[in-house]
């Protein structure tokens, strides 16, 4: 296992070392020590490596990830796994604003709570939050699945496109054009798989599904007030 001390060797060196790994690398396991809330830890990775961050991070941890598995043994600041393409990011603690924003693929697991704008504009990423999420989550979410084992805040799924939202607890309010939808067998199947991969023992049958009413897709003069 490779270890890297951010306090001692600096952030640029960490990202340079991690980004230099190729598909064939032998250095597949990395431990990052003393992150101390630094920004942009383990960003832009593109190799099938495992990175464990020993502590809490600041803004944009694990951004633009491809292939790598990044585990944070602490909490993360705003924008964790922003624009992730593939791979897995697991946060043992809480996540701040816009976790998984604009993500195209991969799996983001937050074991604690996520705050506002979780999954904003998600484009194919799967996000599983073991706790609660804050207001304006999944705003304009286009594709992928957002699974919330706790409660959701105000305006969930506002101006939603085709992302699927699954919430086990209460939803404080739904955003414009977001509605509760029927849970069909194929959704139970998706949920079962995601919960298992995210290490949650929640039962898929306990969730409700929310999705787009598809009334805001095209201009309709009767909806003028909602635009």
């Amino acid at each position: 296992m490779q270890t890297y001390d951010v306090a001692e060797n600096g952030l640029r060196g960490l990202n340079a070392a991690l980004q230099a790994q190729s598909d064939e690398t032998n250095q597949t396991s990395w431990e990052v020590q003393n992150p101390k809330g630094s920004h942009a830890i383990a960003v832009g990775l593109d190799a099938p490596i495992e990175v464990t961050v020993k502590g809490s991070t600041g803004y944009y941890c694990a951004g633009m990830n491809q292939q790598a598995t990044i585990r944070v043994e602490g909490s993360v600041g705003p924008g964790v796994a922003e624009n992730m393409m593939s791979g897995t990011v697991v946060v043992e603690g809480d996540a701040s604003q816009y976790a998984g924003a604009t993500g195209h693929g991969g799996l983001l697991v937050i074991k604690g709570n996520a705050s506002s704008r979780c999954g904003i504009s998600m484009k194919g990423i799967d996000i599983v939050v073991h706790g609660n999420i804050g207001h304006m989550s999944a705003f304009m979410a286009q594709a992928g699945n957002l699974v919330v084992c706790g409660d959701a805040g105000d305006a969930l799924g506002d101006s939603l496109y085709e992302a699927r939202l699954f919430v086990r607890g209460s939803v404080k309010s739904l955003g414009a054009d977001c509605i509760e939808k029927e849970m069909r067998p194929e959704h139970i199947e998706i949920l079962t798989d995601l919960l298992e991969r995210a290490g949650s023992d929640a039962k898929p049958e306990e969730f409700k599904r929310y999705g787009s009413a598809r009334q805001l897709y095209n201009f309709d003069v009767d909806n003028a007030a909602a635009y």
């Binding site: 101390k36 809330g37 630094s38 809490s56 991070t57 600041g58 803004y59 909490s75 600041g77 705003p78 603690g93 809480d94 701040s96 604003q97 705050s115 506002s116 804050g134 207001h135």
Partner: protein, 298 residues
Amino acid sequence: MCGIVGLFLKDKTLEPELGSMLTDMLVTMTDRGPDSAGIAIYGAESAGAAKLTVQSDKPEEDFAALAADLGAAIEAQVTLQANDTHAILELDSTKVEQARQVVRDLRPGLRVMSAGAAIEIYKEVGLPKDVADRFNLSTMGGSHGIGHTRMATESAVTTEGAHPFNTGADQCLVHNGSLSNHNALRRKLKREGVRVESMNDTEVGAAYLTWKMQNGATLGEALESSLEDLDGFFTFVVGTKDGFGVVRDPIACKPAVMAETDQYVAFGSEYRALVNLPGIEDARVWEPEPATVYFWSH
């Protein structure tokens, strides 16, 4: 962008370290606000006495004989302790309002930074480390304090535009964000007779809280009503004589992290500001909810 730090000590044995802990937190937030910095620190009180913190761009000139001149004008004993561009005037607490008016006449270049039994406010233009060094902030003790690093967006980079702002006796406000209705609110407050000295948006927010409290609101109520009346982005941290409070606007895009242990409650714009606090590894760390007023007091 701006940076906010706050530290409220529960463990009295840490009080001599307040200044050094807060300075470390403040300097960590330099890249959120490199143009000015300020700190409000709540230190020792003397019975029946109050402190006026004043600032001057020409301290040698303005502070010379100020204690004697002010003492003569308000017929009371006044002591002065200079600290770079700032000075603490200590005087009879019943004479504070009078002194506040009189110092402006005695020394027109003087600015009153704060008034109260415990509060002292130090703020200047410059890198947070330089500001902290010139006032020796790290040597100060106290029960709690708030610091701010500024990246100006709404008004000029000046001492008056730096935070914290004194909102009432022993009260202060720091702000991360920008208020968009401050011009209209400034005009409204002026009609109500509230003095706002700069074009700064946060000073209007501070004056708004002062005005609300003068009309009978508690600080908590004033903060609640700010959620209705202030338009824009804000994370506010307010200091009071015995504690501090936090409120974020309903959108809550300006960051905030809190940490609590048996020894302290700490606030930082980012977790980075908190990493050197004792026992942070085992602290309860969380993000304050939007549109929710939080308070801690002794």
